[in-house]
Structures are given as structure tokens and as C-alpha cells.
Symmetry: C2
Subunit: 496 residues, 2 copies
């Protein structure tokens, strides 16, 4: 067996165990009775330790050296696979095991304190734990930056967005941050001049919402022989590529949120399902980072399903599902609901126009904290000031401000920018898809996603991690990430 083959076997084992953990996590969030939590936590912790040991096996170093020597005998995909193996291995071996353990414990502790502090809007209560998390996260970023040869922030970003560079994000976000306040004002003015959306009267029974959701999932191309739709407190896309499990939650007073949520997760699911079957359980066969993943969910939710074409298809189905009649149930009114813009405090409730402001704020703050130019004490004030500058609103308390998201409290530093990079990528891919397949909008008006999905399979899903996200985007669209395309999309949708 060559060194490459040995590595490939080892990573296959690692990946199969990670898949097992993925299914167990799905179970924990959907069907597990509360009393199973302790045992499940132990199972997941054990799997995580076993995976970490596989990835830090001292034999790997020699195998990587040897495999680098066979380079010429490897196909492009094999070389990309080797590169991805190496990237994972470098992340895992950059840290002393004491640091890994201390960091994991600090995150767990802080998350627990945060769960209690958030509803009480008590930032002071969580500040000591957050400070400790940050201290250790800085150590992590320093160790990884040294190993990977990159900046402190990029060392963290690389886990979520392989090869991502904050220098490029800075530029793109600066452009957006310049654009957004003026644009938002124009959108709000225009919105005021138009008739308000007519309310949709519920209740909307859960089973009808679910049936409609399944109908639309099927339209997008979701294969129920290879996946499930269930309920969980926080919607997510889990499982494995051949058994993708998405979740939602239903509110009987509002069907619109769950429905778009289902479509969002369906976008994630389609990406997983479209990954190349020949590369299952190999690093190169995995999805290409969180920004690309988010681009696929936003492609379906924001680009395709909030388009006038798709809403024209949706309106009669929604009327049928809930027995709706009258002008409130016409497509133009549904569209007014789905494209309503309103500055608010909460990121996860934000619309497409204001969402980037929430992300830019978090990105700037976490980068400053990682780089040591800001300390957590300063967070509440900096948060409120930043949100006011970007969106013109100020949270009345920290529950609606810097306590709202779990990310920093449970250690996911470097994740935030991927949301907006994903939104921009989605806009750019959708524009290119429509250029390549001009029939897409008309197909969407019939609920036919095949032309769009065919293009995505070819350009994005099938590429998996064989190239960087940037290279995949450039190959698919002819240019690197270009904020003008996202801005043009926003202008067309909200100011046309």
C-alpha cells in the first residue's frame, strides 16, 4: 500500500466515526428523551477523543512526507485530497492536548453560564467565563497561526472557511458597510410609499405546514429515500450525504417562517446530496467550507424562493394548504411579506438587507478581540455603537445585543463572516446560473428546480473540496467574489 492509500484508509475511518457522531447529534436534537443526555454526551465525547487520537497519530507525519514524494503518481483529486488531509492534521496537531482540553472545558462552562445569563440580560455574569474563553482562544489562534503560517484571525477562520483570508473579507465588508446605510434608507422610504402587506390569518395547523414543506422540498429535488424532515428547537441540516436530515420548528400563527426555514435547510441538504459519491468518506469529498454551504441554503431560500417567479408558484399551493382566500393570499402580498425589510436587534430574525450589518459588526468585534485590540469588557458598548452606525438602532439590553448568539460563548470564533460571504456567493452564483441557463426563472415559476440544480451540481456540489471556495466560485462565475453583484441583486429586488 502506498503512503497515500494508507492515509486514505485512515481518513476514511475517521470520517465514518465523524458521521456516526453526526447521526447521534441529530438524534439528540430531535428524538432523544431528556434523560438520555448524559449517556449521549459521553458517547459523543468518546467519539471525539477517538477521532482526535486518529488525527494526531504520530505515524501520520511520516506518511505525509512519504506521500508528498509520490505526488506525481496522484490524480488532481488525490492531490487535493492529500492537501485536505494535511490541513485537518495540521489543525489537530497545532495544539498541545492540555490546551485542547482546557479550551473545550472553558467553552462548555461558558456556554452553560451564558444559557442562564442571556434571558436575564446579565452580561456581567458571563464576562469572567467569556474572558477565559477568549484567553484560551487567543492561545489556540496563536498556535495555529504559527503552524499554518497565517494571521491570528485567519488561523481560526480556516476551520470554517479553508483558505479564507481576513484581508479580503475586510475589503469586501468595508464596501458593503459603506453601501448599506444609504441603501437601507432608500429601501425603507420606498417600502413606506407602497401599500403595507395584508396580514395572513392563522392558525396554520402544523401537519398542513409540514405537508406543504415536504411538497416544496420535493420540488427542489430533495429525495426522501435519502433524507428526512423532523422537528427540533433550532433548525439545522445534519445526517450524512446519503441520509441528509433537516429539521424545522412550526409556529401555528405563522407558516411563512418555517416554510422558508425548510427551504433554507433543503438548500444545505441538496449540497450534501450532490457531493461526489466516488469520494464519500474522504476529506476532498466533503463540502467546501461554511461560506459555500451557506451560499447553497441562501441560493434556495433567498435567490430562488423569494423571487417573484417562485412566489407565483407558491401562492396557490399555500392557499390550498391553509384554505386561504382573498387578496392577502395573492402572490404579490406573499412577496411583500417575504421581502419586507426592517432593521432589528436580532440577527437570526433579520431580513436579507439588514443581515450583513449584523455579521459585519460581529466580524469586526471578534477580530479585534482575537487580535487583542479590544477586551470583552468593552463588548456591550462597542456592540451597541456598532449596530447604531450600521443599522440605526440600539438594543435596549444585552439580551437583544451582545448576548444573543451562542458563537463566542461556546467557542465558535471565526465563524460569523461565512454567513454574509455565503449570501454574496449565492447572489453571484445565481446570476451566473441564470446567464448559463436562461430558462431558470421561468422554470422556478413552475416549481421546476431542475435547471438550477443541474447547474449547481455541475459547478459547485460535484466539485466538493477539490479546489478552494474562491477557485470554485471563479470557475463557475468568471470572477472572484464581487460585492457589486450582491448589491445589484439587492437593488433589483428592493428598489426596482
Amino acid at each position: 500500500m502506498t503512503a497515500y492509500e494508507t492515509l486514505s484508509r485512515k481518513f476514511k475511518r475517521l470520517h465514518a466515526l465523524q458521521e456516526a457522531a453526526g447521526v447521534l447529534s441529530w438524534d439528540m436534537s430531535t428524538v432523544m428523551p431528556s434523560g438520555g443526555a448524559e449517556a449521549r454526551t459521553e458517547q459523543l465525547a468518546t467519539l471525539s477523543v477517538v477521532c482526535h487520537e486518529l488525527l494526531t497519530d504520530p505515524a501520520l507525519e511520516g506518511l505525509f512526507e512519504e506521500a508528498a514524494g509520490d505526488g506525481r503518481g496522484l490524480s488532481d483529486w488525490q492531490q487535493a485530497n492529500l492537501k485536505e488531509m494535511r490541513r485537518r492534521w495540521m489543525h489537530a496537531t497545532a495544539l498541545e492536548s492540555d490546551l485542547v482540553e482546557a479550551h473545550a472545558k472553558a467553552c462548555k462552562r461558558c456556554e452553560m453560564v451564558w444559557r442562564d445569563a442571556r434571558p436575564k440580560a446579565d452580561f456581567a455574569a458571563v464576562l469572567p467565563s467569556l474572558t477565559e474563553v477568549l484567553r484560551l482562544t487567543r492561545e489556540v489562534s496563536a498556535a495555529k497561526a504559527e503552524r499554518l503560517g497565517c494571521s491570528l484571525y485567519d488561523a481560526l477562520l480556516d476551520e470554517y472557511e479553508p483558505g479564507g483570508a481576513s484581508a479580503r473579507i475586510d475589503a469586501v465588508f468595508a464596501d458593503l458597510a459603506d453601501f448599506l446605510p444609504g441603501f437601507l434608507e432608500a429601501v425603507l422610504t420606498r417600502q413606506q410609499d407602497r401599500p403595507a402587506a395584508l396580514p395572513l390569518a392563522g392558525p396554520f395547523p402544523k401537519d398542513r405546514q409540514e405537508a406543504l414543506g415536504r411538497r416544496l422540498m420535493a420540488a427542489v429535488g430533495f429525495d426522501f429515500d435519502h433524507g428526512r424532515l423532523d422537528v427540533s428547537l433550532h433548525p439545522f441540516c445534519g445526517g450524512v450525504p446519503d441520509d441528509v436530515r433537516i429539521t424545522t420548528r412550526y409556529d401555528e400563527d405563522d407558516f411563512m417562517t418555517a416554510l422558508m426555514g425548510v427551504l433554507h435547510e433543503t438548500g444545505h441538504a441538496m449540497y450534501e446530496r450532490g457531493l461526489p459519491a466516488d469520494w464519500r468518506l474522504q476529506p476532498v469529498g466533503e463540502a467546501r467550507g461554511m461560506a459555500m454551504h451557506e451560499s447553497q441554503s441562501l441560493m434556495i431560500e433567498m435567490q430562488a424562493c423569494r423571487s417573484a417567479e417562485f412566489i407565483a408558484f407558491l401562492a396557490p399551493l399555500a392557499r390550498d394548504a391553509f384554505g386561504g382566500t382573498g387578496p392577502a393570499w395573492e402572490a404579490d402580498n406573499l412577496q411583500r411579506h417575504y421581502n419586507r425589510v426592517e432593521p432589528g436587534f436580532i440577527r437570526v430574525d433579520a431580513d436579507e438587507v439588514t443581515y450583513p450589518a449584523h455579521v459585519i459588526l460581529r466580524y469586526r468585534l471578534e477580530k479585534a478581540m482575537i487580535e487583542g485590540t479590544m477586551e470583552p469588557e468593552a463588548l456591550p458598548a462597542a456592540w451597541n455603537e456598532g449596530l447604531r452606525d450600521l443599522l440605526g438602532v440600539t438594543p435596549p439590553d444585552d439580551r437583544l445585543g451582545c448576548l444573543q448568539d451562542i458563537h463566542w460563548y461556546d467557542g465558535a470564533w471565526g465563524y460569523f463572516p461565512t454567513y454574509t460571504l455565503g449570501a454574496m456567493t449565492a447572489a453571484q452564483l445565481f446570476a451566473a446560473a441564470k446567464k448559463a441557463r436562461p430558462e431558470i426563472p421561468e422554470a422556478l415559476s413552475r416549481g421546476d428546480f431542475a435547471p438550477l440544480m443541474g447547474w449547481l451540481r455541475e459547478q459547485v456540489h460535484g466539485a466538493a473540496s477539490s479546489a478552494s471556495g474562491e477557485a470554485i466560485l471563479e470557475r463557475a462565475t468568471g470572477e472572484p467574489l464581487n460585492p457589486e453583484i450582491f448589491k445589484a441583486h439587492l437593488k433589483a429586488r428592493y428598489l426596482a
Copy 2:
């Protein structure tokens, strides 16, 4: 850390991974979409390899030697734990890895051929694969017998019934085999003299069956914060002690089978739940073999829930659930259904009286095949002759004969006797429980399982694997397994 502590850590890790596999198997049988099978098989195979490697880690031998030296410092439970660790390790290390692999592959292949051959009643089609499975199973039993210092058959039995001895089973089964034909004749004669059971007219909607099942599970003491009831093709009890997952399947023309099935699995579940919390994830904290496990399911299903007392409690609940009225829905008629005896071909459909005959037949045949005094070619004829001798009926074809059970075809040799050992153990434990807590029958007539369950927790569940099944039984009932008690139970129920 002492050698014992190191071992205890290693076995905890092993056990947590086995629990993970258990949850994944539950998922596979209940909620997994068909397209997930390949990925799941890979996940389970990987977990199995990792577990095998943990158990065959060369470091264990020295640790066991060292731990044997610390013996005096260990509590009784710790010593029992060490013994159980050692037993598992000896099973795992008795076989060369080539044999393990060849055996696993042969079983998998044979099972696939059997799935095809069974509906066609085509024993000849599966004979070559079965012969190969037996050849390798004999090699396994020879290697294990040498390592464990026991007979060929006992080496296989030990996996399901630790410390079990075929010499004792031979004696007990010979006694039963003598008793059964005459007893069966007496029961059938008596049954003929009584009025036939009045039919219960369906349909019985699944949701009502499920609701009634849950009501009775709760009565037995099943805690839905620590477990679930779901549907699967083959009912089973899975999950982990703090999250026990039982399954059933519903037939809308017959509610009685699923209902007793649910109570049967609830008995298994109560055993798992009652295992001592202090010994979770340690070998000594696990259930004590398959015979004791089956005794707990049959304790609930056969001893408690087919008693006149419980059926008096059940009858009004069943009437409520299905809107039943008239004499067919009276307790005495339900009891006639639930205690009906009828010799048949199929083990899993057999009643309490004829079931042991099916098991004794299989035990004798598999023992002869393992010992080499019989070859698989002779199986169909030997099966039919044996069943005729024991039950007076002859299967018309092998589908209803030696092809009916999966066990031999997928490699579970040595398992069969535990079913009837379990039934006998259940009768003996129930008799002792009623002696110790005379209020048990009256409590059951009110659907109150607390006195029975309290006694079982104390005598059986809480003991886990701290002693042999025989020792637990003897401590709880004052004597070793005694066929007279099982026979007395049958006489009291079917001839009184």
C-alpha cells in the same frame, strides 16, 4: 493510576462506543430512510473495528496480570468487574483476526442467501453457505474452547449466557422434553372441553393501540423521560439504560399481539433501566446474559400480564380503547385468547406451552452440529422428525421448518437455549417474588407493578453482572434453576 483503574477507563471507552453503535442500530431499524443503509453499515463496521482493536490492545494482557496482583485492594464489585473485563478480552483474543474476518464475511453472505431462500423454501440453495458458516463456527468454538477451557458448545454459549453449561441445560431440557408431550395433550383436551374464545372484531386503529400500549408501559413503570416506543419491522429493545428504546409493529386486525409484544419489550427495558447507575459503562454494570434478560421480558409478558389478575385490569382499558362491548370483551374471554395453546410450526408465534419444544429442538440440533455429530445436510429431516416427536406436527416445507429463524444463518450459534432458560427463570423468580411480596397478584389486578418491580430491582436488576446468573437466581429464590417450578406454573395456568 492502578492497573484496575486503567482497565476501567479503557472499558468505559469501549462501552461508550458500543452504546453509540446501539443507538445507530436503533436508528437504522426505525427511522433511517432506505438510502442511508450503505453509509450506516460503514459507520457500524468502523465502530466494530475500533472496538475490536480496543479489546485486543496488546497492553491489556499486562494490565490484567498486574490487576490480578492488586486483587485484595478491590471491592467485590470491582473484582466482578475485572472478571467480566477479562471474559470479554478472552473472547476477543481467542481468535486470529483472519478467522474473525472470514467468519463475519461468511455469516453476512449466508444471511443474504437465506433471505432469498427462505420464502422459496429452498434449503438446498443455502446449504453451501450454511456449511461454510458452520465450518468457521466450529473453528471459532474450538479456539474459544481452548482459551476458556470449556466444551465446544459452551464456548459459544458463553457469549450469550456467561458461565452457562450445556451439561446443566441437557438435564433441564431432558426433564422438560419428557414432560411436555403428555402435558400438551392434557392441555389440548381440556381446552377442547371449554368454550372457544369469542372473536374480537377489528379494525383496531394503530393510534389507539399505541395509546393503550403506552398506558400499560407507564403502569409497568416505563419512564418516557428515559426511553421511547417506536415502530420497526422486528420488535426489539435497544438504546442504552438511560434511554431505552423499544419497538413494536401494529396489525389493525389484531391488537393483542402488539400489546403483549410491547409488554414483553417493556420487561427488557425495565431491566436495562434498573441496572445500577454507579456502574454505567463498566462490564459489571451490564445485564447478566440473555437468559436473565429474557426472564425479565417474560416476567412481564407471561408471568404478570397473562395472569388472570392483570387481564382483569386490562379488559376495561381495552374496551375503552377500541369501543368494545359484550361478552367477547370480558376478561375471561381475553384470557382465553391470551392463554390459548396450539402446536404450530413457527417458534415466534408459539404459545408458552409449546415454545420450549421449539427451543429444545434447536438446541439439540445446533449442539450436534457444533460437536460434529451431525452435518447440515441432515438438518431438514432431523428438524421435522424432532418437531414431530416433541409437538406432534410436521412442517410441510423448510420455510416453516429449518429455514424459519435467522440465527444459524447469520452466525448466532449458542443463542437458542436462552429463550427457554429465560422462561423457566421467569417462573421461578415470579414464584419467589409472590412469596416475598404476597400483595403482588392483587396489585397487578389494579395495574400496580410497584411491588413486583421493587423486588426485581432489588434481586435482579441491581445485581447487574456482579455474580453469575445462577448465583443471582439462587440468592433471589433460594435454589438453582428448578424445572419443577416452571412445570407447576404451566399446570396452574393451563390445567387448573
